[in-house]
Symmetry: C2
DNA sequence: GTCTATAGCCAGATAGAC
DNA sequence: GTCTATCTGGCTATAGAC
């Protein structure tokens, strides 16, 4: 792997683990096995490197979501697949985590990928819910946009509960609760 | 207000705004209008001060939740009151936020109040759901513990969505979605 | 491209005067 | 109880040699 590549990957890991504020250039260099001069040769500084890392993480998360949301199954099945998809629960969401970082939220550039990723995810889920209603896989009354927000919020909040309790179980319990509520809306053609 | 008091309050604000990692003793002193010597006279250091601040914040959050959860209304009404209670949405949850802080989660002492607060909240909500089922205010199938986790997760995740989009609206939308799902379980005596 | 040297500033804390 | 002085070390970056 090239040096810039290693630097980006190291930054991604550290951003996930410690956030922007808690991640120092020095720590990045050590994790990447690169010297200071090397890092500043390839990137203008910490914000520049973080931007590259965040963009890649956001892109990866979008792809992972899409992989599980596409496909020919029912709306309910796709939502369940998204909710139950394998996750590194105790590490939290590498994108959602950044919303609690004041320096990230204070920078329009760093913030944009975070905002976009979560926003598109909500939109994608809303579309699936709408599809489900149209096809009779789900029965109303159900507001697609609201349900989509609740789904994403349950996941993001599930991470909080899991980290708080130190066990992934809390995440699963929150997901179970949501699916329990949603299953009451399963339609005949599902 | 006494100096220790001002130091604790300043720490609470900064912890909320910037997290543990992003909060320096110097910033605390300036916000509290106290000198270094003064701070180290009253507290042994940053962890000690943070502990006092976190404990107080946790206590305050428990009280705020209890204030809205107690009372003689129906289970559904109490859950809705909790979800719609006024919040400083864009600032996020002062307790939940700490779960993303590696230094807080790495310290058993700092972590305990966070864990306990979120845990008790879940237990309290589960009790209310159970009560609602018993009284016929809610109709099953409904797993109290799972629903309680979903409620807390929706709130915690709602903060993430709101901060990501820069608007409190996303929080409200997630809450609306959850109440929409839950309202399908409103019982006859409600 | 990568290295070492250097710099100014901040973090976190201690010591001792007042 | 509060103040100033001081300390060690880390952060973030620049300069210039190799």
């Amino acid at each position: 792997m090239s040096t810039p590549e290693r630097l980006i990957e190291a930054t991604r890991e550290l951003l996930w683990e410690r956030g922007y504020v808690g991640t120092s250039p020095k720590a990045i260099q050590q994790a990447a096995g690169a010297g200071q001069g090397s890092m500043y040769h390839h990137f203008t500084g910490k914000p520049d490197l973080a931007l590259a890392a965040i963009r890649r993480t956001a892109e990866e998360m979008r792809a992972a979501a899409e992989a599980v949301l596409e496909g020919g199954t029912s709306a309910y099945a796709r939502i369940e697949a998204y909710l139950r998809r394998e996750r590194d629960v105790l590490r939290g969401c590498p994108v959602g985590r950044l919303t609690m970082d004041p320096d990230v939220m204070g920078s329009p550039e760093l913030r944009a990928p975070v905002h976009e990723t979560l926003d598109r995810l909500r939109g994608r889920l809303a579309g699936i819910v709408q599809e489900g209603l149209d096809r009779g896989e789900l029965t109303g009354p159900l507001d697609p946009a609201a349900l989509a927000a609740t789904i994403v919020a349950t996941v993001q909040g599930g991470y909080v509960l899991a980290r708080s309790s130190g066990s992934p179980e809390a995440f699963d319990t929150a997901v179970d609760g949501l699916l329990m509520l949603l299953s009451a809306h399963k339609g005949p053609s599902s």
